[in-house]
């Protein structure tokens, strides 16, 4: 087997590269822990109950919860009962952000979660399999005095998943159901300063719309966005890292082309890994500050997907090229069995992501988890991807096992070899073991970290525990570590 560049490097150089990498990682840790704020903020908004007066409808259909043009408010629904206002004339209004603040492109995205506070009433209970129909519209404006411009309007269905912990008796009337949080809205860029959400829950007895959903007391929204400070530090790190990775890649490829032989497969794969890493690191997000590109979230997902599939393929090929079993490899097509699941799995996740975030480009209120068919579809994609991942890990484990078996076989024949040949093999074995251990260690640490983040926050994962299964191990160098640190520091 022809030695790849990384294996012909002297131990001294390898150590230097390793130490530099470690230093970078430590630096990223420090930046994440000391300078940057937590990655995201969550703000709870309680919807204001407005009366949609029929006479005012022509003037302005947007109802503001506060400020100079605020709507006619209701404190609670007993007041509505007394005034003989019907359910169809009540609008829940939420202004994002809170008074005195404004949104900024640095926030990157807004994700909103819906929570319904439903009271228990003996003769108005939530029916089995209740579905709530929401007539929701979103508007924006860039100063406090101009008119609202509509951004999106949609009728959405969400399955209510509530349970009542106390006994269902007359004494417990008025207590609240414990309802799962529902996905509500996702906007991929924050180009405007003020956003307004108007929610209606229309009632139609004939069509059975919003019947049997209990007695609603309040609607709460939780808005999540990335912190501006986090975004800035993140961009800065990306901007700093991209040229360094580019320089290393150019140096590496030049060294390979200077050699007399054509590059071997492993070298090509490492180069491809470098390219995908550069692709994920190029700070194209800077554009999101100036332009209203809502597809940035989707684009980020795709870039990450490409990087992960490249990384996984790299590990397979890295092991395969170290099998030392004299058979002819050095061709990509030899690995189709192992790489196939990766490609297929990533493709499944890509389709899933297109169905979720892709559709959200046109309708920010869309969620694949909202309908039963959608949930089944999403689940099937995720399960197929999970099976692919399992297959991949089985292949990988088998290969690592084979490599170690061959190595120990080689060990016994080492003393019989000539000195130069023996040194070559010893170096090879040492480095393979070293790299393998380091990769395993990084993988372990990251898996552990992800587990800690997930488990540490308790089981209140808002009914979407399934999504845990899509959790992929992150191993994307300093930027990811920086992200993680930010999260740890926040807690």
């Amino acid at each position: 087997m022809a030695g790849a560049i990384i294996e012909n490097m002297s131990t001294k150089k390898l150590v230097i590269v390793g130490v530099t990498l470690l230093l970078f990682q430590a630096l990223a840790f420090m930046v994440g822990g000391l300078i940057a704020p937590g990655p995201t903020s969550a703000i709870e908004y309680l919807a204001t109950k407005c009366v949609d007066g029929i006479k005012h409808r022509q003037e302005s259909k947007w109802l503001m919860p506060w400020g100079p043009q605020q709507c006619e408010k209701l404190q609670n629904f007993e007041e509505a009962m007394a005034k003989r206002i019907e359910a169809n004339n009540i609008v829940f209004a939420v202004h994002i952000p809170m008074p005195g603040n404004e949104m900024s492109p640095w926030f990157q995205f807004i994700l909103v979660i819906l929570q319904l506070d439903i009271m228990f009433k003996m003769n108005n209970q939530i029916e089995e399999g209740a579905v709530v129909t929401i007539d929701v519209s979103l508007a924006y404006r860039d100063d406090l005095f101009s008119e609202w411009t509509e951004m999106a309007h949609s009728f959405e269905h969400r399955n209510l998943n509530c349970n009542f912990t106390a006994a269902k008796t007359i004494e417990n009337e008025g207590r609240q159901y414990d309802c799962d949080a529902l996905p509500f809205m996702e906007v991929g860029s924050v180009a405007h300063k003020y956003y307004l959400i108007n929610i209606r829950l229309p009632v139609n007895e004939r069509k059975k719309i919003n019947i049997g959903i209990g007695e609603i007391r309040d609607i709460r929204l939780v808005g999540i966005h990335q912190n501006g400070g986090f975004t800035k530090v993140w961009f800065a790190m990306k901007t700093f890292l991209t040229p360094s990775i580019l320089i290393i890649m150019i140096w590496y490829w030049r060294r390979i082309t200077l050699m007399t032989r054509p590059p071997v497969l492993l070298e090509k794969v490492i180069f491809a890994l470098g390219i995908s890493m550069t692709f994920i690191n190029i700070p194209v997000e800077w554009f999101s500050v100036g332009f209203n590109w809502t597809w940035m979230l989707l684009f980020g997902d795709i870039r990450q997907g490409i990087f992960y599939s490249m990384l996984l393929s790299f590990w397979i090929i890295f092991c395969g090229e170290h099998l030392m079993d004299q058979s002819e490899r050095n061709r990509f097509s030899v690995y189709w069995k192992q790489v196939g699941p990766i490609v297929f799995g990533s493709f499944c996740l890509f389709i899933f992501d297109m169905c979720e975030r892709g559709v959200q480009l046109t309708n920010p209120f869309y969620s694949i988890w909202a309908s039963d068919i959608g949930t089944e579809l999403a689940m099937s994609f995720i399960i197929v991807a999970g099976i692919c991942a399992c297959l991949y890990f089985l292949f990988l484990c088998f290969m690592v096992f084979q490599v170690f078996r061959n190595i120990s076989g080689k060990r016994t024949s080492l003393p019989a070899m000539s000195k130069a040949r023996r040194l070559h093999y010893e170096g090879l074995i040492f480095r393979f073991k070293f790299l393998m251990l380091v990769s395993l260690l990084i993988l372990d640490v990251l898996v552990l970290m992800i587990c800690f983040v997930c488990v540490g926050d308790g089981g209140a994962t808002s009914g979407e525990d399934i999504q845990l299964t899509t959790t992929i191990t992150h191993a994307d160098g300093p930027t990811e570590i920086y992200k993680m640190t930010g999260k740890e520091a926040q807690e």
Binding site: Y45, N123, A181
Partner: protein
């Protein structure tokens, strides 16, 4: 109702007291009053079937009352009121009623007014806690053991709100994975806070500080030390509770005569089932059965809000009341006297 007015009046005097601060405190006073009211309502609900039923007179949080007691019930009233104020302020914050909740740059600050853009705002709860502290604790001007007790219980009420908050998380990494996750705390129902504090009420700690306590600096130090050694989540009282069975004009107690109690019904819990024995029997009163006809709406067609089209139904309900003995029904009397158990007395 009367009490709330008094509370508002008090907060206004607090405003005068805090005139160094901005006028903005007036913005909060209606929320503070509403919060105190919700505290009172919750207190009444929690103590509906106890001998002491949270009467309006007990809720005077003001300092100038010469009748200030320092028993277990006072402790609960202070805790639930300050919890109510904190709860309502936090809730109104989320409604967007105030301009600067959670996003006060002076607290978030290091980054020169860009706190919101840089790292987001702090929780609304923190804001509610701070304002509640300023308003409710300011009513306590003295420096004696009673004042220290009230401040401690106010703090316990606020800790109860924080302690009952629920953490919810949302995963939003690639394809909705949990590689990125955001968590937040949300307010529970106020009933949860009430239940939590009722439990604390049953386990309230008694501190013996009243005897021989002057107003010297040394005793003040001792008071501070004693209260610091107790967990801030616990309720504290200095005196034992009086006998709530009897009417006591000087203490402003109405006694249990004329109170309603619960007897039958499959859905009652133990505490409620024993309420007639506790309120009437053990206080030497008889239970009287009264039948009343009630008119209520029924067979309504309900929507998520605002019921439409109801019928009026009449039904007879049986209610039980505590009355003086030697009057109406001998049967009830004998039944209740026989069962005079000392067990429940010990509990108090």
């Amino acid at each position: 109702e009367m009490l709330v007015e008094e509370f508002v009046a008090d907060t206004e005097s607090v405003n005068n007291f805090l005139m160094t601060g901005p006028k903005a405190y007036l913005i909060y006073s209606s929320s503070v009053a509403a919060g105190a009211q919700s505290g009172i309502d919750e207190c009444k609900y929690q103590f509906a079937w106890d001998r002491w039923n949270c009467p309006e007179r007990a809720l005077q949080l003001s300092t100038h009352s010469s009748l200030r007691s320092a028993n277990r019930e006072t402790a609960f009233v202070h805790a639930i009121s300050s919890a109510g104020v904190m709860y309502t302020l936090t809730r109104n914050c989320s409604l967007g009623d105030f301009d600067n909740c959670g996003c006060d740059d002076s607290r978030n600050g290091q980054r020169g007014g860009h706190g919101w853009l840089w790292g987001g705002c702090s929780d609304n709860v923190g804001f509610g806690e701070a304002i509640s502290k300023q308003f409710v604790d300011a009513l306590e001007t003295g420096q004696d053991a009673r004042a220290a007790m009230n401040l401690h219980n106010n703090e316990a009420g606020r800790k109860a709100v924080k302690g009952t908050m629920q953490k919810t998380c949302k995963c939003h990494g690639v394809s909705g994975s949990c590689t990125t996750q955001t968590c937040w705390l949300q307010l529970p129902e106020f009933r949860e806070v009430g239940n939590y504090l009722k439990e604390k009420y049953h386990r309230a700690l008694k501190v013996d500080l009243l005897r021989g306590a002057g107003n010297s600096a040394a005793s003040r130090g001792a008071i501070a030390e004693t209260f610091n050694s107790i967990s801030r989540k616990e309720l504290v009282h200095l005196e034992d509770s009086p006998d709530y069975c009897l009417e006591n004009r000087t203490l402003g107690l109405a006694g249990t005569e004329g109170r309603e109690c619960l007897k039958k019904g499959k859905n009652l819990n133990k505490w409620e089932k024993r309420s007639c024995r506790r309120l009437c029997g053990e206080c030497g009163l008889a239970v009287e059965e009264r039948k009343a006809e009630m008119v209520s709406s029924c067979n309504c067609k309900f929507h998520w809000c605002c019921a439409v089209k109801c019928e009026q139904c009449r039904k007879t309900v049986t209610k039980y009341y505590c009355v003086k003995k030697g009057g109406k029904r001998g049967r009830n009397e004998s039944a209740t006297i026989r069962r005079k158990s000392p067990r429940l007395r010990k509990k108090h």
